[in-house]
């Protein structure tokens, strides 16, 4: 039996702080061929982590190895990597084709025109390639930048929020393109804060919250794991303690907290049951319910579980 292939990217105990602000905290994971999605709310540290993975930023501690070598201060490695940062700025005065040509030259390519044509066709911008990039729409700029990233045919692609500002048609095109590239054996790492995108594209998901790696693995498996967790229901009523002691008696309730401000937090894995029983308990105890709120439908609370869990 063959030993498992070495990971394309190995991130080991990586942290990054800026003064007293910790942006990334002790993150460890491996990236293998296929599409890996870096998911997390804005400000979670995804961009900082990606910049460290591409060698654009330094780590405060830990190490990042790409293809087995340290990525920092190692220019030859970029031959095999294509990186697209989140900044949308381009050289406005350059024509699209000139930009891709420049990227090809910088990567030391030989048959430049061929490669440039291929890259521009991949992103479907052949008609606009002779116009200056300042005349491009936002989506076109992203695509031309992607062409510049792909022109040297890299094995590893690292894309920071590549679907930012793309319209639905472009999204579809982009996704198909990434899937095709991945099917050819490449490794693609892309970051996004949009759950659905990552769900559709990524084989592996890395969930980053507050600078920490909160979950990793296959998307649906993570979702299922979430379903094992208790949901929170917040109740505001006229007699918190009375309701709390009644709720504890329900078999569907795992735990009950009473907040100092008088709110009651009910943890249950069967919200449906709680929704039915709660009014009955309240009526029996002569308690009036002012508010009943399941706290779990926002993305933040999904992330919240994983962080607290």
């Amino acid at each position: 039996m063959m030993a498992p292939a070495a990971p394309v990217i190995r991130v080991d105990g990586v942290s990054r702080w800026f003064g007293s602000v910790v942006a990334v905290s002790d993150v460890t994971f491996d990236v293998t061929p296929g599409i890996t999605g870096l998911l997390g709310p804005n400000g979670a540290g995804k961009t900082t982590l990606l910049r460290m993975m591409t060698g654009l930023a330094d780590v405060s501690s830990g190490s990042v190895k790409v293809f087995g070598q340290s990525v920092r201060d190692n220019p030859p490695l970029y031959q095999r990597m294509g990186v697209m940062s989140e900044h949308e700025s381009v050289y406005g005065f350059m024509k699209g084709r000139e930009f891709v040509r420049m990227m090809a030259k910088l990567h030391g390519m030989e048959r430049i025109d061929e490669a440039v044509d291929r890259a521009i066709d991949l992103v479907d911008l052949a008609d606009a390639q002779h116009r200056p990039m300042r005349t491009y729409s936002r989506g076109m700029r992203q695509r031309m930048r992607l062409a510049g990233t792909l022109v040297h045919d890299p094995e590893l692609l690292i894309l920071d929020e590549p679907l930012n500002g793309a319209d639905p048609r472009q999204r579809v095109h982009f996704k198909r393109l990434l899937q095709k590239l991945a099917a050819e054996g490449r490794t693609i790492v892309l970051s996004s804060h949009i759950l659905e995108e990552v769900e559709e594209l990524a084989d592996t998901v890395l969930l980053i919250v507050n600078g920490k790696l909160a979950a990793s693995g296959e998307f649906h498996a993570i979702r299922a794991a979430l379903n094992q967790r208790a949901y929170h229901v917040k109740v505001v009523c006229s007699d918190p303690r009375g309701l709390a002691s009644a709720a504890v008696g329900l078999s569907s309730v795992d735990a009950v907290h009473v907040d100092p401000d008088g709110g009651v937090l009910i943890l249950s894995r069967n919200v449906l049951d709680v929704q039915v029983e709660l009014p009955r308990l309240a009526q029996a105890g002569g308690i009036s319910l002012r508010r009943v709120e399941p706290l779990d439908d926002s993305l933040e609370s999904v992330f919240g579980y994983l962080v607290e869990g």
Partner: protein, 312 residues
């Protein structure tokens, strides 16, 4: 937003999720709305903040405060030297030294560089990054914006021009063995240097902002301004001394760094140490004043015109 699972789930079918929005007491603003002047004031205050680097961390504060420090320092040195001369040689010796009237000819270049570096911060950023539109989509006009920014920068430059003079005055009066006597003799200096400060500041502010209004990158604006002030000096001096005569006087008028200084001299009644050798000093007072006004009002008008036409 709250979601409720209905009892349909009990019948074995998948739960039907409905959505309801509750009234949690959102209210729109019903307080007093202050008028246009309040927004102008806001742009003004913001201009002061930007110029002095408040709210933007340490690095943004270094340059402006450094210049203010240098200006104050020059005033301080002058005061100390005068005090020392007073002790050693008596009040007559102190009279010979550079005083309020000479301060601006010494410090002019610092004021201009200060303007060259700070003015672009006030104007270029907003146009380059597009944030000017945040102002223009409000009841503010482009003219309101530039007037408020100009006023903010003028305030700062005037303060920077007054501070060293105040230090100098305090130093001179306290260095004198009879401070009250000094005050009584020299109290006229106070309105003089206050007026002179405004003259210097108005010119520096307006010209600097004019250049900044025509370029998007702060760097080019700053270098161009400094180039204007720094290079015209040896150039016009060289040409004026070569050509001489009346033509020479007019050529030295194009020494942009000196234009306000002639008016300052007029305020103080005598040419300062550094300007007395310049041929232009011999021109009649009205000419000098009109020249100054031309170089302040015309740039001001162009500045106004440039921003008035801006729309989001």
């Amino acid at each position: 937003m709250t979601t409720q699972l209905t009892a349909a789930a009990e019948s074995g079918q998948p739960p039907v999720r409905t959505g309801t929005v509750f009234d949690i007491g959102y209210r729109s603003y019903t307080g007093e709305r202050e008028g246009l002047n309040r927004s102008r004031l806001a742009v003004y205050k913001d201009g002061i903040r930007i110029a002095l680097g408040f709210g933007r961390g340490g690095r943004a504060k270094i340059l402006p405060w450094f210049f203010i420090g240098v200006l104050a320092f020059i005033g301080l040195i002058m005061a100390i030297v005068a005090g020392a001369a007073n002790r050693i040689g008596g009040p007559e010796a102190a009279e010979q030294l550079p005083s309020h009237g000479d301060y601006y000819s010494i410090a002019a270049i610092i004021i201009f560089i200060f303007a060259a570096i700070v003015a672009p911060e006030l104007l270029c950023r907003d146009r380059r990054e597009g944030t000017i539109n945040l102002y223009l989509v409000r009841p503010l006009t482009g003219g309101d914006y530039i007037a408020a920014r100009w006023a903010a920068f003028l305030t700062i430059t005037v303060a920077a021009a007054w501070l060293p003079q105040i230090i100098l005055f305090l130093g001179l009066s306290m260095g004198d063995p009879d401070p009250i006597g000094y005050l009584r003799l020299h109290w006229l200096d106070i309105p003089r240097f206050l007026a002179a400060g405004i003259v210097m500041a108005a010119y520096a502010t307006t010209v600097a902002m004019l250049v900044a209004a025509f370029t998007l990158r702060r760097a080019y604006a700053s270098v161009f301004l400094v180039g204007l002030f720094v290079i015209t000096t040896p150039f016009t001096i060289g040409m004026a001394s070569e050509i001489g005569g009346a033509a020479g006087e007019w050529i030295s008028m194009f020494n942009l760094a000196d234009i306000p200084l002639y008016v300052v001299d007029l305020i103080f009644g005598k040419p300062s140490m550094l300007t007395k050798d310049i041929p232009a000093v011999h021109l009649p007072a009205t000419t000098l004043i009109l020249w100054y006004l031309a170089w302040t009002l015309i740039p001001g008008a162009v500045l106004w015109w440039r921003y008035r036409r801006l729309s989001p």
